[in-house]
């Protein structure tokens, strides 16, 4: 579904991403992890064509450099980390914008539009908030509204840039569970930048670890999440620290 070949991204003299290659197929959730400044978000933005890059990105076998913006949006949905809506649109209007790529310049005809928006709202648990002003939503509700917009786009591939890193536990779980539910339909795939390694390991099927713009490990989740790789990427004994963090205090049901 998504094939990335030798992608590099440079900001003037600084190479933020160096020669990254990987592939994402249907049913997979690829977690992109690494310390701050590893180039994860930069790589995601390059794949989404927000940043210029060297190398090749193929989507459904087609070179994305040749795909028009609308064609890209019909095949790939992108959810950014922060959102700042400027005006009091309703949640439904915001989600409806996800159908933009399916409408022609002059005609607004979109036979599937209504159904797709309703389904996206329901999947994100926003049916009851459809008439609510987006400026009055909490951070978690707003992120869910934008996630619903991405679902309404009707793509088979999702790119998520730290989708829940600024949200509280309940919303983190809601966002990740919703994406996992969405992924149950065959032929869909997700690639996301995630800081929380526990979330990445629990929800991901595959992982790509990055450090200083380079790929350190890529493959099926369990082959990447090894003590050796974790230590190599984060320069610390991540495994020991996680064991210390997760000592079985919750197993004591008395409290």
């Amino acid at each position: 579904m998504l094939r990335v070949e030798g992608v590099s991204v440079s900001y003037r003299d600084f190479e933020a991403v160096h020669d990254i290659s990987f592939e994402v197929s249907g049913g997979q959730w690829l977690m992109l992890a690494g310390p701050n400044g590893a180039g994860k978000s930069t790589l995601l933005k390059a794949i989404a064509k927000v940043l210029r890059y060297q190398g090749k990105v193929y989507l459904d076998g087609m070179d994305t450099a040749r795909l028009k913006t609308k064609e890209m949006a019909r095949r790939m949905g992108v959810l950014h980390q922060h959102h700042t809506p400027g005006y009091p649109y309703t949640v439904e209007q915001l989600v409806g914008l996800g159908r933009y790529a399916h409408q022609s310049f002059l005609s607004h005809a979109d036979p599937d539009g209504r159904r797709m928006v309703d389904e996206a709202l329901a999947l994100c648990g926003l049916s009851g908030l459809r008439r609510q002003n987006v400026l009055t939503l909490s951070g978690g509700e707003l992120q869910r509204a934008f996630l619903a917009q991405v679902f309404a786009q009707g793509t088979r591939l999702l790119l998520l840039d730290e989708p829940a890193s600024h949200l509280d536990l309940a919303y983190q779980r809601l966002i990740f569970d919703t994406v996992r539910d969405w992924l149950q339909t065959p032929g869909r795939a997700v690639m996301s930048v995630v800081h929380d390694l526990q979330l990445a390991r629990r929800y991901g099927t595959h992982a790509l670890f990055m450090k200083q713009g380079r790929s350190v490990a890529f493959g099926a989740r369990d082959s990447v999440f090894t003590r050796k790789n974790l230590q190599a990427v984060w320069d610390m004994k991540v495994g020991d620290w996680f064991i210390w963090l997760n000592e079985p205090w919750l197993m004591d049901k008395k409290g």
Binding site: T69, A73, V78, H80, P88, Y89
Partner: protein, 335 residues
């Protein structure tokens, strides 16, 4: 539907009142009858009131309506594009740029053969577009996120800079001083049918371009990154909208001088009435902008009659207060 019909009725009624009132008031029924006779092409020779209405007031009121409609439409489009409720030709320095272009055209005597209005308009449009590009370029260079406050601050700085250049030109203009001063104050007292037709053409073309981009403006209002993600060709839309806005502001300034704040005040009121979706917002802003400027023009020519106030002064007095109101509101919301 009903709101749309109500707005159209408001436009017609305001237009009728503005044509009827002036230094020589004419009853509304008489005004309507003369206008109707004029539309049917009946002979009105010797009718003094008909002369006043058809040759003096009507072309002026039509021009005022079109300028108000165009400026307000531009404000609504820019506010959507930049996701910035304070964006307007005046606050972004675009009107000042257009005025400077018009001044230079007059001083250098630039004219196009057969098109007496076009020379000033062309330079106005070019300067309006360059000003807009300069504001966005400087804002981007200073603050890559193109934050609201940065854009407005640079717009204010650019307006002051252009104002200084205009003052410099005026002080060296000698006998042309009066016509140059006009650009800084704004007035449509000399507008005739030729000006109205020129404005109508510009509004028809650029207005349609802007209306055709209503959905894209909705997408920009949610953030540029998000607009790109849902499939909007960000650069093309930005350039198209900016070009249409520059042409409209340039043409308006070349005919009526610098008339500030219409594009700031009216889109806000329109948003309160029709909501933020641009399909309705742009049309409502267009109609209400025309109504607002017709009323401002009526005030300008009747409040201190026989002395006529410059139209730009009236709109700026109202706009400055409104600007403060929006700024305070934006700050409160941000807090």
């Amino acid at each position: 539907m009903w709101r749309g019909a109500g707005l159209l009725a408001l436009v017609m009624l305001t237009g009728l009142v503005c044509v009827a009132l002036g230094s020589v008031p004419i009853p509304l029924d008489k005004t309507a009858s003369i206008l109707w006779d004029g539309v049917l092409g009946r002979d009105l020779t010797g009718n003094t009131q008909a002369v006043i209405i058809l040759t003096v007031r009507l072309p002026r009121v039509i021009s005022v309506f079109l300028v108000g409609a165009a400026l307000s439409l531009c404000g609504a489009a820019m506010q959507g594009l930049l996701r910035n409720p304070l964006a307007d030709g005046a606050t972004l320095g675009v009107s000042s740029g257009a005025s400077l272009g018009a001044m230079l055209a007059i001083l250098m005597g630039i004219q196009l053969p057969m098109l007496p209005l076009a020379g000033t308009a062309v330079l106005s449009v070019i300067f309006a577009f360059l000003s807009l590009l300069l504001v966005l370029f400087l804002a981007f260079a200073l603050d890559r996120s193109l934050a609201t406050n940065t854009i407005i601050l640079i717009g204010v700085i650019l307006t002051m800079f252009m104002g200084s250049l205009m003052s410099l030109l005026i002080s060296f203009s000698g006998p042309r001083l009066r016509s140059l001063t006009f650009w800084t104050l704004g007035s449509l007292s000399g507008a005739g049918y030729a000006e109205a037709l020129f404005l109508l053409l510009a509004l028809a073309v650029c207005g349609l371009v802007l209306l055709a981009h209503a959905r894209e403006l909705d997408a920009f209002a949610m953030g540029e990154e998000n607009a790109r993600a849902i499939g909007v060709s960000v650069r093309r839309v930005k350039l198209t909208v900016m070009a249409a806005v520059s042409v409209l502001i340039g043409v308006c300034v070349s005919i009526g001088g610098s008339i500030g704040f219409v594009g700031l005040v009216i889109p806000h009121i329109s948003r309160l009435i029709m909501g933020p979706a641009h399909k309705r917002l742009l049309i409502t802003s267009l109609l209400l902008g025309g109504v607002f400027l017709m009323l401002c023009d009526l005030a300008a020519r009747t409040l201190l009659s026989p002395v006529e106030l410059p139209l730009g002064v009236v709109t700026s007095l109202i706009g400055a207060v409104f600007f403060m109101f929006i700024l305070a509101n934006t700050r409160r919301r941000a807090a």
